[in-house]
Amino acid sequence: MSAGASPPGGEEEAPPVRARGLVKRYKDVLAVDHIDLNVRSGDVYGFLGPNGAGKTTTLRMILGLITPTEGTAELFGRDPLRYGARALEGVAGFVEAPRFYPYMTGLKNLQMLAALDGDGAPARIDEVLDVVELAPRAKHKVGGYSHGMRQRLGIAAALLRRPRLLILDEPATGLDPAGMRDMRALIRRLADEGITVLLSSHQLPEVQELCDRVAIVDSGRVVYEGALADLRRQGGAGYRLRSTDDRRALEVALSQAGIEQASIGEHGLAFEAQEPDVGELSLALAEAGVAILALTPELATLEDLFFRLTEGAGATDAGNGAKPQAVHAR
């Protein structure tokens, strides 16, 4: 970016996405309730939440498609409502399903969008068609495309802009398993090349596989934002232990401070504890003459944590730890 195009305050430091206090109210319905987001350069940032949580509305506000009732959103330091199309420089993607003109061919659609992008985009059409493997169908009308083909055309249209930030809203929705796998591979590869990705998704395995940082929204509010690894650690430091005498090990564990939720299950002793307490327990077991055969930490899955955060304690049974705190780890 040139200095001439830079917003006040210096663009080099501006994060790809920075939202502060975003609120969207439709009459009596509060769709988005003071959402803050911080997508850093190089992030593959997962944006998670149940249906109706306000994800798509938030993405629309970030892209300047709808006006927030309160709050601001900036892309590389530029508010789309203030900077218009200039705020979208280096930004591409789609919100909800990508939509095209059904009466034009895929190629014609891309030619039009490339013309609306300028900046040499028309010269990249063949390349992006190859990337998404739509070249053989490029001269067919979009009206005859399958859902998966339209998703791929959406990715192609986004890549035309040579984005530094890619915003994708449920890109794998409606794809068959192979299509999902390929979509993940494509996103991973783009991320590896330095493109920051903001990925809104219902596919928890997809987010777990791709994302390093996440925001989880529920009822229009962010209930967690931060590193995925931190979230999983917060979900409860669970352990499983196999020993030469599990019953004796349980007695020892119950007598140790800091060991919680200890019980014997099918695969040995399960408990929750912080790392120092686990060390103390291992020493105590040795003193009691119980040999440790295996001691393995068990982090909560994203699915466990997601349901705990968005559905409350009722869903914690599926997990192995305490309900994580709603935090904003920035």
């Binding site: 195009a5 200039r86 095209f100 300028g118 984005p163 530094r164 591979a185 590869r189 783009l190």
Partner: protein, 292 residues
């Protein structure tokens, strides 16, 4: 996409300057979108077929006087240049407004129907550019419809009855070449009220987000104003009705040229068209692009 991992990737460089497209580029693509839609040709087919049908009918029945056409109706077989004037007289009141409304009412609402407004508004063009390009495209279509109709009527008329002088409303005879120029000018002047109607259609299209509603609403305005013009006691407002301006081009076909109705038409049409365009612009500028 099974081999995407091996395919060359789009890079994400930090660029110095992103060259943004001009409004002219957006306008060109709006025209291409119109060209790609079948419905575009429905209106154009009407304005081509009707003059042809008229000329064929006149030839078959060998009618020398068209009762409804006044002085130009009386000259129908004397000069081919009477035909485009007659056609403008007949089509300007309703058919050409309907054809213009077909595209004007659809121009924004079609994007809403397809969910593509978000697609173009997340590229490197501002809403103002999109508004200008779409409004110009709707105006261009209306102008093409008018001049296409005039061209077909002129060619068919000349082919049937020759390139001869005509008598104007004032009774003065003008040469064939001057008459041809007047035919062109009359159609150009007719575009003034038609553009005002297009502006109204564009406004309905941007505000209702519904193609059928906007097209019917635009045509409905024409019908409503025709009805208002017929209501006894409302004669005072008649000169200010948009539909009354549809015939003001006839001032050109008098000798000397009667500019008064044309000037009147210009400012009355501005009263209809400019607020409609401003309303449409503000609506597009401020509206939330949701759905799709």
């Amino acid at each position: 996409m099974s081999s995407v991992a091996a395919a060359p990737a789009a890079r994400a460089p930090v660029r110095a300057h992103a060259r943004r497209p001009s409004t002219l580029t957006v306008y060109r693509w709006e025209l291409r979108k119109l060209i790609a839609q079948k419905r575009t040709y429905l209106g154009l087919a009407l304005v081509v077929v009707l003059p042809l049908f008229f000329v064929i009918f006149q030839n078959v029945h060998q009618r020398g006087n068209h009762g409804n056409g006044g002085i130009f109706g009386a000259q129908i077989t004397q000069s081919g240049l009477a035909t485009p004037v007659l056609m403008l007289l007949f089509l300007s009141a309703f058919l050409l407004p309907v054809v213009a409304a077909l595209v004007a009412g659809d121009i924004f609402a079609n994007e809403d129907g397809n969910g593509t407004l978000k697609t173009i508004l997340t590229r490197s063009v501002d809403r103002g550019q999109v508004f200008a390009a779409k409004s110009l495209a709707a105006i261009t279509y209306a102008a093409i419809a008018v001049f296409l109709s005039a061209a077909v009527a002129t060619v068919a008329g000349i082919a049937s009855w020759g390139f001869h002088p005509v008598r104007t409303y004032s009774g003065t005879v003008v040469s064939a070449s001057e008459a041809l120029l007047l035919v062109f000018a009359a159609n150009a002047v007719y575009l003034i009220p038609l553009f005002a109607l297009v502006a109204f259609g564009v406004m309905l299209s941007a505000t209702t987000r519904n193609s059928a509603g906007a097209v019917v609403g635009t045509i409905g305005l024409v019908i409503l104003l025709f009805i208002v013009a017929q209501i006894p006691g409302l004669e005072g407002i008649k000169p200010y009705l948009l539909t009354e301006q549809f015939q003001n081009w006839q001032g050109l076909l008098r000798t000397p040229t009667d500019w008064a109705p044309i000037a009147h038409s210009a400012w009355v049409c501005a009263l209809y068209g400019v607020p409609a365009l401003i309303a449409a612009y503000l609506t597009l500028l401020r509206r939330d692009v949701a759905g799709g």
